[in-house]
Symmetry: none
Subunit: 255 residues, 2 copies
DNA sequence: GCGCTTAGCCGCTCA
DNA sequence: TGAGCGGTTAAGCGC
């Protein structure tokens, strides 16, 4: 049921949670509780005041006073069981694969609320991976003049390189693209692809920047680095009107 | 201020948020709003009912009906500004480095609450102290194949190493175990034990990881480092108690 | 501050 | 179902 309770008895809170879970509601609960986790790892969090969130898909979040990340959690798809035992309110969340358990033991519930959220909006995310590769696919000159893309995301025994192509001199090339600074593992990734090839190939690592150590290894292995101009690339996509809105509001400020 | 409001006017909600931010409270708000993000990437989420959480460290989370992950967020350290503009309640979160903005635009606020959570508990990850040593005692192969534990020092008073044992070649070994990354002083500790011994002993430092400088000294002194797989160790913890609790609960309890 | 490594990473895609 | 891989990864640590 949609609703809210303040300082409920633990039995009341338990009933509330169970009917909310059955009713596919989002539950938010502020209380005094401890948390145990057992699964791929294990953890123990003693008594303290925190926020518990349980969603209709079975995901569970335990948030402490600070920090972006939940201290304990369970991803979507878990089975929630709840009830009073030995004078404490117990909430158990079981994940099937991998087998994992989260146990929340309430001493006190200060506030508990459940709601049905109506939210049909589509989440639009800006120049994402795919869009980004579309651009490079359409404009290989941003990687190297005269380059022609032959394949994209082609599966190889050693993984999946972003592109294969042919350069202006007719050499076959393998291209690994990073949207942010390339590190040592980017080079390793490229190297894996290269090693699994027979015949002459050029290797190109393409990113806005590269760490010193990565560049060192790259050079030693005889591969090339191509600096990617993200700004120039973005200018190829349509301007996002909401950036304007945000800027305007930031200028005018709030308080 | 600690408190809660139902269906407040946007102005009231704005004031509430501002004083809560100043008072270092955790804010939870359920409402009808849209979200824009601009920074390393950009995103747009149209109008819908969601949960907003703002923590005292400036972290911001926007949660939709489903999913473990927040649809939008801002990590700790952001500056929160809030106020009414053009009949909407705006909440802006600004991150300095990298420069990122999150804008929440409320059409309606259904519920808003702020609390000061008292939570001093320490978060223990991995097997708890005793369990941890029990596990290693029972599974010395996690330290080294063929190792046999001879003695164990449970409590911490120094002067006595965590374990002594005999390796597969019949060498006596002194083992210093750390539950977290080993540092220079871990090596020093092992070294003290070693120096207090007469006769031939091998020294093993056993930890999930080790700092470079510590490894350097360790090698120079001729001791060995053994990487501890905490994850694998955790999985050795008996699942029985949990499953029992869960089963018992399912049979007798809640719903 | 930057660069590197890890994470109960999560979640997506595709063989 | 598993492997590979991106992410507004975040967060921690060494340098």
């Amino acid at each position: 049921m949609n609703g809210i309770m303040f300082y409920p008895l633990l039995e009341e809170a338990g009933d509330f949670i169970n009917s909310s879970v059955r009713g596919k509601k989002l539950i938010i609960c502020i209380g005094l509780f401890s948390v145990e986790y057992l699964g791929r790892s294990s953890s123990n969090l003693g008594l303290g005041e925190r926020v518990l969130m349980v969603k209709e898909d079975g995901s569970v979040l335990v948030h402490r006073r600070v920090g972006y990340e939940p201290v304990n959690w369970q991803p979507a798809g878990c089975i929630i069981r709840c009830g009073v035992r030995d004078g404490k309110l117990l909430l158990l969340s079981e994940r099937r694969r991998p087998k994992e358990f989260l146990k929340v033991v309430f001493d006190k519930v200060y506030l508990i609320t459940s709601t049905s959220l109506v939210d049909e909006a589509r989440f639009e995310i800006g120049p994402v991976e795919n869009e980004f590769y579309d651009l490079l696919m359409a404009h290989p000159e941003y990687i190297e003049e005269g380059l022609r893309i032959v394949s994209r995301q082609k599966s190889m025994p050693s993984g999946i390189p972003d592109f294969t192509g042919k350069d202006s001199k007719g050499n076959y090339v393998i291209i690994e693209v990073k949207r942010s600074m390339a590190g040592v593992d980017s080079v390793k990734q490229l190297d894996r692809y290269m090693k699994s090839q027979r015949g002459h190939f050029r290797g190109i690592l393409c990113a806005p920047s590269i760490t010193k150590s990565a560049l060192l290894i790259l050079k030693k292995k005889g591969y090339d680095f191509r600096r990617l101009n993200l700004k120039a690339l973005s200018s190829l996509v349509a301007f996002k009107p909401y950036e304007e809105t945000l800027d305007r509001h930031l200028e005018e400020g709030g308080s």
